[in-house]
Subunit: 120 residues, 2 copies
């Protein structure tokens, strides 16, 4: 379902977390669908179960999945999870702007990039 990159400096649990978050946000994993079990992901990626557990724990804290002992983990209803994530991304966006301006980035350059993104 997802893949990890050992040359990536980021911890494996972050790569797993971000990978599944992306699958959920893009709708590849629809609401209510069952996530692969911790042990399944662990086996398919040849990674310790504890590492996957940590990724799932964080996804649950973010509101993207719901874990039920004995049953499994399931993709949660979105909405609140998205708004939490949106604020996080907007915060990074706002941080980026003054820095871009300081190094001489043109305003139109940025607006054009946005136009391109939304005109697809």
């Amino acid at each position: 379902m997802i893949s990890i990159n050992y040359r990536d400096g980021r911890p494996i649990y972050e790569q797993v977390r971000d990978g599944y978050r992306q699958l959920i946000i893009t709708g590849v994993l629809p609401m209510g669908s069952k996530m692969p079990s911790v042990r399944e992901v662990s086996a398919s990626l040849t990674v310790n179960p504890n590492t996957i557990q940590r990724a799932y724990r964080e996804l649950e804290a973010e509101g993207y999945i719901v874990s039920v002992p004995g049953k499994g983990s399931f993709v949660a209803e979105r909405g609140e999870a998205d708004s939490i994530r949106r604020e996080e991304l907007l915060s990074r966006f706002r941080t980026l702007l003054p820095e871009l301006r300081q190094v001489g980035t043109n305003k139109d350059t940025l607006v054009n990039l946005i136009e391109e993104e939304y005109n697809v």
Copy 2:
């Protein structure tokens, strides 16, 4: 001159590097001016000299300062350094856009943030 935050998860050398880069970009440290010596910063922040040396080494690699053994480190001419940094920031900006869109961020929200930033 700058401060570091131990609760921040980022390494100290990154905080020092980013802090001085900011001082240079904003013009607080003008072109050609002398940077505080590695030992001075080390003493004022109560941090090992090697840690500061690493921050300076990276700032020099980025083109923001020039270090001369025996004389000191000096703020370099900007231009090339800024363009390297600008591409770095633009890359992050481009990465952020599809993610923001996916979680339902409105295009005008982003454009307005840019307008505000540049209308100051």
